[in-house]
């Protein structure tokens, strides 16, 4: 109770602070925030995206790192991404849910929660950027990266469940911080220290990622879309990014500080609906232009291997596709392992199978639909300004359904909101891992989180995207490195489970038992 009252007080203090921001400077707040943050953001991005030239294109090392890991996992687990696809579906459908455990977190719920953190602006704005810069061919590499990324998620989420913390009060929390520290310590005494270092590094980057891609990028892109439907340059809101930021920060603040879970609960129910509307509209447009589909598909295939007019040729196309896929589905980044860890199961590997669906739905399905709509409607052309992001996707939908930008705006804002809620949770978990759990550490993190919403809405896209990418991708270094050491653990879990599964030793329940 005490905690709750404190929470409300904090929320109030925060609101006052945010509302008083505009009065501190009479004009050009947006420009001022932008000027202050930009050099820092650019420096961070430059460091993380250390790159080397391949065929005339600067390829960031982190991208090679992620794709190499995903490919290795795919081979090491003998194409688990395809092999366990069907069984993953049975698990999500609830065939193996024990009725006596009803009321606990199911595989479906864990997947849905993790998905609402990843399905977001990456699928709408990120794809537009990839297709603009890399041409239709980028779609091909995006799909490939999505398929490979499934194996990365499988490994991460299995480990997330295996090494989660179950506290005496009945709450659970897990994620790379725990599997890096506990898992590596379990492997050998020598690795104990490395595990700790990796866990701390991960937590630091995760906090950064929660301010970057999980926050500023979302705020920025949803603001751009709101401006564009309310009249673009001439919109009353056009130079009032800070105002939009303050409103969004206030709403997020109500949820994360005020503890108004109702808002989060409502959002978590509307977001899947918006996703269905978005996908249906995309499919409808594809269907309306069905005669264009073969041409679009051939543009995707041929563009993937022979890129004319794209900076860096084929390597440039591949880079754009991989980059946006990785940013959208976060495979190898480690964030999803935090969300998946709450599931009720005593076989960690089952959550790994379920997690295969995350990159599949996110990248292979949703991103591909966005890309097809952009290509089919011809909204894509190389001269389009790539910093337009979500505006390009909006224009693509508008060309077939004139009023759709309004629906898209609602979807974009809601996706951004739910992604922020998820990331504020991931970031907070990492933050409390670093600084311990107390009312003050909690409040400091949450205030910073809200502050970055305002910053993100005020900055220009270029520096926001670079900074967001940088912080999110940085998480992949400690995460993937640690995961390499833990592969035998996952292998053992998988082999034991898979032989039980093949031998029919796993109990099915309910309707599934009758079907079988």
């Amino acid at each position: 109770m005490q905690k709750k009252i404190m929470g409300h007080r904090l929320a109030l203090a925060l609101m006052l602070l945010i509302v008083s921001l505009p009065t501190m400077a009479d004009e050009g707040i947006d420009a001022r925030i932008n000027e202050t943050i930009k050099p820092f953001a650019d420096a961070v991005a430059g460091f993380i995206f250390f790159s080397f030239p391949v065929a005339g294109v600067q390829i960031p090392f982190v991208l090679v790192w992620l794709i190499f890991a995903a490919t290795l996992f795919t081979f090491y687990f003998r194409f688990i991404n395809f092999r366990a696809f069907r069984h993953g579906f049975e698990l999500v459908r609830g065939d193996y849910n024990d009725p006596l455990a009803a009321g606990e977190v199911t595989h479906f719920q864990a997947l849905a929660t993790a998905l609402s953190g990843t399905v977001g602006l990456g699928n709408i704005a990120g794809v537009a950027v990839a297709v603009s810069l890399g041409g239709p061919g980028a779609t091909f590499w995006m799909i490939l990266a999505g398929l490979l990324g499934m194996s990365s998620k499988f490994v991460e989420c299995t480990l997330g469940v295996k090494y989660r913390n179950e506290y005496t009060d009945g709450t659970v929390s897990g994620g790379p911080m725990y599997y890096l520290s506990k898992g590596l310590a379990e492997r050998s005494e020598k690795l104990k220290f490395l595990g700790k270092v990796l866990a701390v590094l991960f937590a630091i980057f995760c906090v950064g990622g929660s301010f970057g891609g999980g926050n500023m990028f979302q705020a920025n892109q949803s603001f751009m879309q709101v401006v564009s439907v309310t009249g673009g340059e001439s919109s009353w809101l056009a130079d009032k990014g800070w105002l939009f930021g303050v409103v969004v920060a206030a709403l997020v603040g109500l949820v994360v500080i005020g503890g108004i879970q109702g808002i989060a609960r409502v959002t978590s129910k509307i977001v899947p609906l918006m996703a269905v509307i978005y996908v249906s509209a995309g499919l409808l447009i594809i269907f309306m232009n069905v005669s264009e589909v073969p041409a679009a598909l051939s543009a995707i295939i041929s563009g993937a291997f022979s890129a004319e007019g794209v900076a860096g040729g084929v390597v440039g196309v591949l880079f754009q596709g991989f980059k946006r896929a990785a940013f959208s589905n976060e495979a190898g980044i480690g964030s999803a392992a935090i969300a998946h860890s709450a599931v009720k199961t005593n076989r960690p590997v089952t959550e790994g199978f379920v997690a295969l669906y995350e990159p599949f739905i996110d990248t292979v399905v949703v991103c591909t639909i966005t890309a097809l709509v952009i290509i089919i409607t011809g909204t894509w052309n190389p001269s389009v300004d790539p910093s337009q992001g979500v505006a390009l996707t909006s224009a693509a939908f508008e060309s077939s359904i004139s009023w759709f930008p309004w629906v898209l705006t609602v979807a974009v804002v809601l996706f951004a909101f739910s992604t922020m809620i998820s990331w504020s949770y991931y970031g907070l978990k990492a933050w409390t891992y670093l600084f311990g759990e107390s009312l003050i550490t909690d409040a400091v993190y949450k205030l910073l989180f809200l502050f970055f919403i305002v910053v993100g809405s005020s900055m220009q896209l270029g520096s926001v995207i670079d900074f967001s990418d940088a912080m999110i991708f940085a998480m992949a270094f400690p995460n993937v490195l640690g995961v390499y050491f833990l592969l035998p653990v996952v292998k053992k879990e998988l082999d034991e489970y898979w032989s039980d599964y093949k031998a029919g030793k796993l109990k099915k329940f309910g309707k599934a038992a009758n079907r079988a």
Partner: protein, 144 residues
């Protein structure tokens, strides 16, 4: 083997009438009475990460509350009337879970109250009684 009856209870007054009816029936036929409370829950809901983290804790609290506030008072009252009663608490879809529990205990009759909501409400959201009547494999008695 003695006869088994099942009665669904929630905390509203209409389940009091269903309970009274079930008590009479159980008393008359010397049947065992299974008192079931279902906590409405779906495995396919969309939750926030925070909700998932606390889910196990909440579930324990929900079960505890149902046990102390609903099931235990009812069962001890029934036992005082020397009826062989047993309490069951489950999470799930109310009608489906009642059916599953009935099957599990080999009940021959399910007795429940009805909420008496308006026709339009029932049309839109369905009612436990309606659904139960549709899906149950054993006779259902709906007590108004």
């Amino acid at each position: 083997m003695s006869k088994v009856l099942l009665v669904g209870v929630d905390c509203s007054s209409c389940s009091d009438r269903a309970l009274a009816y079930a008590t009479d029936r159980a008393d008359a036929s010397k049947a065992q009475l299974i008192v079931v409370h279902v906590i409405d829950w779906s495995p396919f809901s969309f939750n926030t990460p925070q909700e998932n983290e606390e889910r196990h804790k909440r579930r324990e609290a929900e079960l505890e509350r149902a046990r102390t506030e609903i099931i235990e008072p009812v069962v001890s009252e029934l036992r005082a009337k020397s009826i062989f009663a047993r309490g069951v608490i489950r999470h799930g879809h109310p009608a489906e879970t009642l059916c599953a529990v009935a099957e599990e205990f080999g009940a021959t009759n399910v007795i429940i109250g009805k909420t008496g909501s308006s026709r339009i409400r029932t049309q839109l959201f369905g009612s436990v009684a309606n659904t139960l009547v549709q899906i149950s494999k054993i006779p259902v008695t709906v007590v108004p």
